[in-house]
């Protein structure tokens, strides 16, 4: 039987949204799927050698805030300088305490499992990024290349 295929488009560049593509891709590989992730726009941040991903409470009413902070800090409070850094530090600590893997670790597991990581060349150019900013093993391509794989896929996700 031919391997099943999973195609993912990763478009978001925040700490919380870094998880779904890497968790699903690494797990799919463990289950025998051939997997590709196509990174475009802010998703390119997930391919940087040095990850500087943050999480923001802004515009995110679903985010659980510690100590009822959402009641004490209405929207303007959440926009204060330093709030994003603080929320990021708290989120990272919580993840560590709960045994959740780091994004770096999941990304390495994906690479070990031969998940193909493809960066959208158009958005690399758009943001004046350089290939040297990205980890080894990334391939660079465009929309047509994505469809070559996605068209044959069993599951296709836009994240």
């Amino acid at each position: 039987m031919e391997d099943k295929k999973l195609a993912i488009i990763a478009t978001k560049g925040s700490l919380d949204w870094a998880y779904p593509p890497f968790i699903l891709a690494s797990t799919a590989s463990a289950l025998g799927y051939e997997t590709q992730i196509f990174f475009t726009f802010y998703g390119l941040q997930l391919l940087k050698k040095k990850l500087a991903l943050e999480v923001t409470p802004l515009g995110n009413p679903g985010m659980p805030m510690p100590m009822g902070m959402d009641k004490w800090f209405p929207v303007l409070g959440l926009a204060l300088p330093g709030m994003q850094g603080m929320m990021t530090a708290m989120m990272k600590k919580k993840m560590k305490d709960k045994g959740v893997a780091s994004v770096e670790e999941l990304r390495e597991l994906c690479q070990e499992a031969e998940v193909k990581l493809i960066a959208c060349q158009m958005t690399v150019d758009l943001f004046d990024m350089d290939h040297s900013e990205f980890i080894e093993g990334v391939e660079y391509a465009g929309a047509a290349a994505f469809f070559e794989f996605a068209g044959e896929s069993d599951i296709c996700l836009y994240i």
Binding site: I23, S26, T27, A30, L31, G32, G99, V100, A101
Partner: protein
């Protein structure tokens, strides 16, 4: 608990790490050998069941004991 050839302690690890570590350990084992996985993630019960069904490795035993989850997986 029946005999096993290798043991993997995935205690304290959360989804999807127990599955990924188990897969990696199984890769280095021979067909017919049995892996004993210990995990604390309650989600791992359904996950190891699904992992076995999709990979063809046999889940010989799945049980909770002393607050931990134990799985015996025979490599196909």
């Amino acid at each position: 608990m029946a005999d096993f050839d290798q043991e993997l302690d995935a205690s304290g690890l959360n989804c999807p790490l127990p599955i990924l570590r188990a897969k990696k350990t199984l890769n280095a084992m021979d067909s017919g050998q049995v892996l004993h996985v210990v995990a604390t993630d309650p989600g791992s019960v359904k996950d190891f069941d699904a992992f076995a069904k999709q990979t063809g490795n046999e889940l010989m035993e799945s049980k909770e004991e002393g607050g931990k989850f134990h799985f015996l997986i025979k490599k196909s």
